[in-house]
Symmetry: C2
Subunit: 360 residues, 2 copies
Amino acid sequence: MSTKERGMIPGNEGAPWGWTDRHRSQHVAIVGATGAVGRELAQLLLAAEHPRERIDCLARRFGKLELALGRVKLDVRPLESTREATDFEGTDLAFLCTPSGISRELAPALCEAGVRVIDLSSALRMRPDVPLVVPEINGGELRGAPRLVANPNCTSAIAALPLAVVQRLFGLEELILVSYQAASGAGSAGIETLHYEAREASGAPAQGAPPQSPFVARLHQNVIPAVADVGPDGTSGEEQKICEELRKILGLPGLVVESTTARVPVERCHSVAIHCRLGADLDLDRLRAELARAPGLALTEDPHGPRPLECAGSDPVHVGRIRAGTRGKRSLCFFAVGDQIRKGAALNALQIAAALPAER
Amino acid sequence: MSTKERGMIPGNEGAPWGWTDRHRSQHVAIVGATGAVGRELAQLLLAAEHPRERIDCLARRFGKLELALGRVKLDVRPLESTREATDFEGTDLAFLCTPSGISRELAPALCEAGVRVIDLSSALRMRPDVPLVVPEINGGELRGAPRLVANPNCTSAIAALPLAVVQRLFGLEELILVSYQAASGAGSAGIETLHYEAREASGAPAQGAPPQSPFVARLHQNVIPAVADVGPDGTSGEEQKICEELRKILGLPGLVVESTTARVPVERCHSVAIHCRLGADLDLDRLRAELARAPGLALTEDPHGPRPLECAGSDPVHVGRIRAGTRGKRSLCFFAVGDQIRKGAALNALQIAAALPAER
């Protein structure tokens, strides 16, 4: 059943995502509200009927102090300090959609001031005392009502959701992940750059000045075979994160993860080709049945799907091309696509906030 | 050193590719000359200074009987029969840039009539009596002057070139290949479709009627996660070919190959992320040195390369992101990009023809 058939606002299918009156009574701050993820989060909060006057938008970028969300506009005020909680009087919960450097300073300051923090940057994800949560997988880690929770890297979150089902059924020994990551993984500048380049290459009239590209080369009709900086051992920062974060989220410290990440000219939705070696023999029928009923997942029977263009703006991680591998009875291949601004970032963060028990 | 710095015609760097006066004395036919590969082959023959009057272009498509190659035009005549050699009187060598169904009929008919055949379709590649050749790897199979030679699938040829070096140094036990394949892998219609969709999405003025798309969905700003039809076991035709052909080209019938193929919105050049399990411990320095001097390969030190846009129109298979895997000392990852119309098809076929000894 499509979104349209259910008579819902496109892209807000799952609203209100467990967001109740208890949550709506909180004063919520979005730091980095003008970025791609902050903007999406504001949109999700409004869709979950959070009162406008209890959404406080902050950003460092000046000159863009209004945010249009559908027909709603929210004021955005400048963040004055990244080291003190002075900007957050009366805030109950803050979402940090900020670069790691800012989160590293701001998150502890806010916690100390009694503000609950969900940090979407990579700054604190691997700290042993900070839970790294995809609610459908390890939401149990929120039971103790931690004041600070980290939201995973977008590719990690998207891959983790189907992998948790595979792990539960057969165990996981070894993973190869190869990604096709969207321009918007690099934020609004990524989207703007891709569209600018596409217009330019197609001879369409230019719309404004060329944006500052976050990519090392033209992305339109290209593939850039490493996301983030590449370290001395040849592994990219994104590949490193995927490896470490999957181990932490899945609770498998010994899991072997090898990956190649690449940026592709897609606006939204990361795709991942996953080749697994299991701990037990694969049973395809059982796997399909479990994937079909697992929360947060959508199974496609389209032999040429799922595809990022069609999955953009939807809640679940879409899984398809499920097949036995050629490396014996314990090998499995599949393809997963998720909207990385949504389940890979803003939606997952909102779900964490929804699942957090009230502080005692 | 770039093509420009060497003062060469862009895209014709390696000309004449071993094409000598002995080859230029042959009457050569290109069947399927109006397709993307046939067109490229005609261009390469001209760059190799093959006399125009000894290039005979045939095609089934009517109404497009002239072919512009730079400033040169070649007549294209219709192919009257796919079952008899009647169209090929006086032809010494025929390149079949034709669909499998046509090659399957035409290749034996031509051989019987004494015409040498290089077939670029998949029709005969896996026949035990037909050599499947990438000259840099198994050019030795041409020594017996076979009348019929098969040219590999484009992705197989591109992957095989660096893999042959890896195999020679360390042995290969298991491969995972994940592809990012260009629109032109589906021929001229693929390129036209991609550009039409990009113009349409960018609001550029339409140029002519929409082409008939060879893809199951819009490719512009999308990823289609299976190239060719998907069989009942979930493997796509392209994935099947890659597996079978790599075994044959590399001479490793027991090699385990697992792959995911996907189409990406790129005009030319297939990219492949390759994760290998070796037969011996990896020595990265030795591998880099050997890849750098192997014929047909170009090593890049760009941490975010090679990229298809920049490799388009060039001869070699470009290799980069060479690094140790995380699956022990015998694991290796790298990224390869090749112009699949060129080394993946037309150029490889020309190199086969150049390497074929005179018939006795």
